[in-house]
């Protein structure tokens, strides 16, 4: 547990000392919120920015998580993993430290996006709902960070990981309920979207915004997260370079 905190602290310090990059990661979701949310002519709602805010919050977590996989690639390519894997502290704490940092960073970024949404006129729900929104985003972040970090453990270099990242994160986002309601989707997309973890997270957050606390989605995400965590832990224990 202590070593998880040490790994977390290492990544956090490095991130905070990166200065510019602390902000640049926010441009993409902010652009979605402003340029798509404020501008897209939609028929099903007259408050589109309000509709996609939950989707953009989940997207912030999704992209941030998958971006976080490159931390593992860096540690591997630069030789840090060689040193860490030869240490007596449990190897899975490397994984947990990464997940903790990536999720924490994602939640900070989501907070800024949420503040921006409020500036754009989106109404915040009550405190209880807000807590559950963060819980949903957190669980979803853990799921994403564990998946990304484990993929990164098996991928050789930056190019490979960038390819995997764009192959997974963009389609996951588009094939979800983040941008449009199920009833406006073509049938094939509806099927895909209803099986997509991004939709589970988005739907849950959306229900919180409309004032109903619905924890079914969180439960599904948590179960998925635990499964991925189990697999990742096993893979880290067995890891070789």
């Amino acid at each position: 547990m202590k070593s998880v905190y040490e790994y977390f602290l290492r990544d956090l310090k490095k991130w905070l000392r990166g200065r510019v990059f602390v902000l640049t990661a926010l441009i993409m979701p902010a652009a979605w919120l402003v340029f798509v949310g404020m501008a897209l002519p939609t028929r099903f709602t007259d408050n589109y920015v309000g509709f996609i805010t939950p989707g953009i919050l989940v997207m912030t977590m999704l992209f941030s998580s998958f971006q976080g996989g490159s931390l593992m690639i860096f540690d591997k390519v630069l030789g840090f993993m060689n040193k860490f894997l030869a240490l007596p502290s449990p190897r899975e704490s490397i994984l947990f430290g990464k997940i903790a940092f990536i999720t924490f960073r994602g939640l900070l970024q989501a907070t800024v996006i949420l503040a921006l949404a409020v500036l754009l006129g989106v109404r915040l729900p009550g405190i209880a709902e807000l807590v559950f929104i963060y819980l949903t985003l957190g669980v979803f972040g853990v799921l994403g960070a564990a998946t990304a970090t484990t993929i990164a453990l098996k991928v050789d270099d930056h190019d490979g990981y960038a390819a995997v990242n764009s192959m997974i994160s963009m389609p996951l986002f588009f094939a979800s309920s983040a941008l449009m309601p199920y009833r406006d989707m073509p049938e094939w997309l509806r099927v895909l979207a209803s099986m997509n973890p991004v939709s589970f997270a988005t739907d849950t957050v959306r229900s919180m915004f409309s004032g109903t606390i619905e924890i079914g989605g969180i439960a599904v995400l948590a179960v998925l997260g635990l499964i991925v965590l189990g697999v990742s832990t096993y893979m880290f224990r067995q890891a070789t370079v």
């Binding site: 202590k2 070593s3 040490e6 030789g79 060689n82 040193k83 240490l87 050789d156 070789t240």
Partner: protein, 317 residues
């Protein structure tokens, strides 16, 4: 008691045999693994540090099996890999404290101060590593490795890319550690350093140990002196007692001999007898380079360069 023992240690990368049934026994000493690039040095170190699983055979470090007792092995060792991996956005102290905490040493702060002091980094400990020189970075890595007082220290090419003074300094530290009872297992391809600082060396080529012993002993095996003669004319056959013609290069003849002074006279006499004109004649002591060239051969002797296998090795190293 042996600190490191390997029996038939073998590692394949696909069908490339990087390490081929290696038997080693290392006690409390500075042990150097020498060999050309891609000979399997780093692969052996990675198996001993539990980073790679052997394909066959076994290895024990401090009595613990590297596969079955991996955690116990990791508790007894420190490993400094070839690539310098330091967080340049963190200070020297932060880099070391991280490892102290990860090793779980009590009083991480104090141990860090001690390690930094030992390696002469105390006065710059609170600067970002970004500003450190290559030599300082390597010493910082040693400080990281030493915060937990390991029984065995693995160093993979510890002096690679450092200037002479920095290399000297690294070796002083390594020597001091050995005096304190630590076992140091290192790889290098600087023969002169291995000669000066290692208690024993093994020369490894294409995954196999081709020679093992003290630097003195290995040099003695092939003859203590090398005589080089530059001549004009066509040299004939040589049959002198205690002298061996090693190679003929244009107009340069290289001999191996047991006793340099005696051989010099005999060789000069023989060259004159053959009617050769001697331009220069020199004698020097055998170095590990000579042993290496004798045991491993020159790069030209080696089988054709296999690009794909080489790249595979590089990637997996």
């Amino acid at each position: 008691m042996s600190v490191i023992v390997t029996e038939n240690l073998t590692r394949y990368y696909k069908d490339l045999c990087a390490v081929d049934h290696v038997d080693l026994e290392v006690g409390r000493e500075i042990f150097g693994l020498l060999g050309p690039n891609g000979a399997g040095k780093s692969t052996i170190v990675k198996m001993l540090t539990t980073l790679l699983r052997p394909s066959d055979g076994r290895a024990c470090v401090c009595g613990h099996d590297v596969v079955k007792d991996a955690v116990r092995v990791r508790e007894s060792i420190s490993y400094v890999p070839q690539e310098m991996a330091l967080d340049i956005k963190l200070t020297g102290r932060e880099n070391v404290v991280l490892f102290a905490r990860l090793y779980g040493v009590p009083n991480a702060r104090d141990r860090t101060d001690e390690a930094l002091g030992l390696l002469g980094l105390a006065d710059r400990a609170d600067e970002l590593v970004r500003g450190y020189s290559g030599g300082m970075r390597r010493r910082l890595e040693l400080a990281q490795a030493l915060v937990h007082e390991p029984r065995v220290l693995f160093l993979d090419e510890p002096t690679l890319g450092l200037d002479v003074a920095a290399r000297e300094k690294i070796w002083e530290h390594v020597h001091a550690l050995k005096e304190k009872g630590m076992t140091i297992f290192m790889t290098t391809h600087y023969m002169d350093e291995a000669d000066r600082y290692c208690d024993r060396v093994a020369i490894i080529d294409r995954g196999k140990i081709s020679a093992i012993g003290t630097p003195q002993g290995l040099k003695g095996e092939i003859g203590r002196s090398v005589v080089t003669a530059s001549v004009s004319g066509e040299p004939g056959a040589f049959s002198l007692e205690g002298v061996r013609l090693l190679k003929v290069d244009d107009h340069e003849l290289v001999f191996m001999a047991g006793d340099g002074a005696d051989a010099l006279a005999a060789i000069s006499q023989e060259l004159k007898r053959q009617g050769l004109e001697i331009h220069s004649l020199s004698v020097r002591e055998t170095s590990l380079d000579d042993v290496f060239l004798q045991k491993v051969g020159t790069p030209e002797d080696r089988s054709a360069f296999d690009g794909s296998k080489y790249r595979l090795m590089l990637r997996r190293r």
